[in-house]
Structures are given as C-alpha cells and as structure tokens.
C-alpha cells in the first residue's frame, strides 16, 4: 500500500510539475507571475479533446499550438507593452494575469460543448512495479514530464534561443545590450510556459476528469508549489511538486478526499512560513 501511494504520488507530482515549471520558467525570465498558464493550458486540452475525432496526433498538436499562440500573443501584445510602460509592478500583473485567467476560463466554459471531459488514449496495457499495477499511459505521462525538464536544460545549453532566455533571466540590461530581443524572448518563453500548462492539463484529462475548474486548481496548486520550491527555480519546483504529489496521495489514503487538500494547503502554508524563499531558494529576488 505504501508503494501504491508512492507511485500515485509520483504520478500526481509529475503532472503537477508541468504547470509548476511553466510558472517557474516564465517568472525566471520575465519576472512576472503569470496566473493564466494553467487556464490557458486547460483551454488547449479542451481543444485537443474537441479535435480527437480527427486523430490523436493532430488533436494534440492543435492543443499545443493553441496554448502556445495564446501565451505568446498575450505576452507580446498585452504584457510587454505594459512592462515597458509601467515596469514590473507586482499588483498590476497580479490583477492583469488573473483577469486573463478569468477570461480564458470563461471562454472554456462557453466555447466547448461539455463542462467536464476526459481524454481517452488507446490502452497500452499495464506495467507491474513489484505487485502494483500501473497503467502504461501513466508511465508515459511521467516520462514526458521528466524528460521535458531535460529537454529544456538541453535547449538552454545548446541553442542560441535557449541561451538568450538564460541570459535574459540573469542580467536583463546586459541581455539587451548584447543584442537579444528580450521582448521576443519574453513572448517565446510565455508560449512555452503555456505549452507546459497544456501538457499538464492534457495528462490530467487522461488520468482524471478535466473540468472548466481544473485550470484554476492547477493554477493555484502549481503556482503555490512553485513558490514553495523557490519561485523561478525550475529544479526546486520539480522537487516540491513531487513532494506535494506524495502528500496528496497519502493524505487521500489516510484522511480521505475532503481532508486531502486541507492537509496539502496546511503543509504549504507551514513551509511558506518556515522557509519563505522556498526549499531551494529563489533565482530572483522579489
């Protein structure tokens, strides 16, 4: 039973880590806490569900692209001009991105025919870890979650684009001076962050049900886990997502569904009070 709990926890944590990484990535580069990542990703996942009749792969690509375009567009046409005009004002961007999330959630509710969906993937069978049966789709979800982190690190090390987002997060002024189009980098990173939100929401829809409110749940959870991991710190976010996944899983067993989230939030609250800068510390000073 402990093993079962652990495995469930790792799966939940792995999925949660996706929006968390999205938050961390965007925050690390732009300095903005974007509350809309998970709702945009959920919109993308609903798009995928709607297009499933046209084939799994095209549907996934369409969802991915939708999330990217929304994330990119909002950054490029709304947030970048605001940053330029008003600088980085926490309250301002809290309200603005919260407003965006509200709009996107509202659109999801009105645009798609059903408020609750579940995404059916072809059954690939089960895998046995010791004597615990695990759906192979879940294993794939986890593998993708972890490999995305590696892909991101790889991009950062080897491509010019990846280098320019690291440079932008380390020294904005110098990034501008060496010739990086930082506004474009901001938009790109926001698009990628929303793709991470999409993958998270997609797998949520594969493993559980996806509702209009899942976007908000993932938003609040992802966002707070990101803070606990050390906001802007991608590795910290990953670790704290895993810990929280395990907490959710075991709290579910021992305390029951209702107390699950209470336990989770109380622990988050406690960590925030004891270590306000997160488990691994922040890469930006807020």
């Amino acid at each position: 039973m402990v093993l079962q709990g652990l495995i469930t926890g790792i799966i939940i944590g792995g999925i949660l880590s996706l929006p968390v990484m999205g938050v961390a990535l965007i925050y690390g580069v732009t300095g903005i806490l974007n509350y809309a990542i998970a709702t945009i990703g959920t919109f993308g996942a609903f798009t995928t569900w709607l297009l499933l009749p046209y084939g799994l792969l095209p549907a996934i690509l369409a969802g991915l692209l939708t999330s990217f375009v929304i994330g990119f567009g909002i950054q490029q046409f709304l947030l970048n001009p605001l940053i330029k005009k008003k600088g980085n004002d926490l309250t301002l961007f809290f309200i603005i991105t919260f407003g965006i999330a509200t709009i996107v959630a509202g659109l999801t509710k009105n645009f798609f025919p059903r408020p609750t969906i579940s995404i059916e993937l072809p059954k690939l069978g089960t895998l046995f870890i010791a004597d615990v049966a695990v759906d192979i789709n879940k294993v794939i979800a986890i593998a993708i979650a972890f490999s995305i982190l590696l892909v991101m690190r790889f991009l950062e090390k080897t491509t010019k684009t990846g280098k320019s987002w690291i440079a932008t997060s380390q020294n904005l002024k110098m990034a501008k001076l060496v010739g990086i189009n930082v506004e474009f980098v901001y938009s790109l990173v926001s698009g990628i962050g929303c793709i991470l939100g999409f993958i998270g929401a997609f797998f949520w829809g594969v493993l559980y049900n996806l509702t209009v409110n899942t976007g908000w749940d993932l938003c609040f959870l992802g966002y707070i886990i990101a803070i606990v991991g050390g906001i802007g710190n991608v590795w910290g976010g990953m670790i704290s997502a895993l810990i929280m996944g395990v907490v959710i899983s075991f709290a579910g067993y021992w305390l029951g569904g209702m107390w699950q989230s209470v336990a989770l939030y109380v622990i988050l609250f406690a960590i925030l009070i004891v270590a306000p800068k997160g488990i691994l510390g922040s890469e930006r000073s807020v």
Binding site: K160, A167, V178, G179
Partner: protein
C-alpha cells in the same frame, strides 16, 4: 576628415522631472577615440545608456550611420554596430567566461565566433585559462577584462565603455587603454569612453567635458588646456 558616424542633437533625458541631460549635442567620427569626462553625477552614464537605447530621450534625436535610431530598441542598435559596456552589472554572473564571450558575439555565426574568441584570448590570455570559470567568481580586474572582451567579441563599429577605470589600479587601467588604442589602430573601431578620472585623455583623440547634464567644452585631446578640466571638476 573621416565621415560622421554618430550624432546626437539636442538630447534631453529626464528621470521624472529631473533633467539629467539638457540639450546635449555630440558627434563622433569614424575611427575616433572620444573621451567623455566629467565629475560624478555629470550625466555620462545617462548619455551612454540613451545612445545604447536603454533610456528614451524626452527630446532630441540620435543618428548612427546616417540613420535615425532614436526610436530603435537596444538590440536593433547593437545589430547596426553600436554597443555599450555599462559601468556595472556588465556580465552574466552565473555563466562561464566562454558563454559570456559567446553572448558578446551574439550576431556572429558559429565559425566566426570561434575566431573572434581566439582574438579576445590573444588580447587577454588570462581569460583563456578560465574559460569554464563562472564570470561572477572572477576578480574585479578580470571581470572588467571579460566585459571589455565581450565588447571586442561583439565586433562592432562603435564601442562605448562606461567608466573603464572604476575600481582598477592605475597600472591596469593604463594597460587596458593601450590595448584599446592598439585595437583601434588595427581594426578602425570607434571608441567612446566615459571617465571620471582623466586617465583616458592619454589615448583619446577628442574630449567632451560634461557637467550637470550639459556639454561644457569639446577639445582636441592633445591641445587640451588643463585649466579647462580643473574648472569642470571644481566649478567655474
């Protein structure tokens, strides 16, 4: 006379209601080394950051290579061949030396980057020993070397260096200055140096005296009257 490279006309820059630059006129010719001298708070950094595009002027215009660049973003100006090494925060501290230099050479392709990096290493052999060291862990002098190395790696038409000598021993400053003069003689690069100390006058062709946001004088560096400098720092 060599052609005009960069020109600022009636440049006014404000922080809130405070005017840090007041109707500044300034020009640089190709291949020149120009020094901007003036006491602390004169507006040198403000001027260079405006030329680089980090600050937007309230009034006036900037021309570079016969194009009006007043409205261009910093990366666009850099692409045209204009670069600033700021007086502080001029490195990517958590990146190794080599990646800093590569970012300096942002618009070069892979092969020419290698060549350019080798040129920088020839000028600053110390950097070659430390290509993998994180920039933030270098000593003050080495950090300045790396910053200038990034400027050289940029392979630009005009390089601006803010407060080159800040916090460095006089001997190190002398070395850096002669390296920069050799670079100019070799490549024809245009250099704009801002200095609180007057050491830069040793290599400069021309000098602008800046005080309280206004240009007080422009002179040939060789014929510069020492009293003029004195009045700049001590007030008329």
């Amino acid at each position: 006379m060599p052609p005009l490279l960069m020109e600022a006309e009636n440049l006014t820059v404000t922080y809130g209601s405070y005017a840090a630059l007041k109707k500044v006129n300034f020009s640089v010719f190709e291949g020149e080394i120009v020094a901007i001298v003036g006491p602390n708070g004169a507006g040198k950094t403000t001027f260079l950051e405006t030329v680089a595009g980090l600050l937007k002027p309230k009034e006036g215009s900037l021309k570079f290579r016969d194009r009006n660049i007043t409205k261009l973003e910093p990366f666009q100006r850099r692409k045209m061949g204009l670069m600033l090494i700021p007086q502080e925060g001029n490195l990517f501290p958590s990146m190794p030396v080599k990646e800093n230099l590569q970012l300096g050479a942002f618009f070069e392709n892979k092969r020419s980057t290698e060549e350019i990096l080798n040129r920088v290493y020839r000028i600053f052999p110390k950097l070659q020993d430390r290509t993998r060291q994180l920039a933030g862990t270098l000593s003050g002098g080495e950090q300045r070397m790396l910053a200038i190395g990034m400027g050289i790696a940029a392979n630009v038409k005009a390089l601006m260096i803010d407060e080159l000598s800040l916090g460095l021993a006089p001997k190190v400053v002398g070395n850096l200055l002669s390296i920069l003069r050799d670079l100019r003689d070799e490549t024809g690069i245009t250099l704009i140096l801002s200095e609180q100390s007057i050491k830069a006058l040793d290599v400069a062709d021309r000098v602008y005296g800046l005080e309280a946001g206004e240009i007080r004088f422009t002179e040939d560096a060789q014929q510069l009257d020492r009293d003029l400098i004195k009045s700049l720092y001590l007030g008329a």
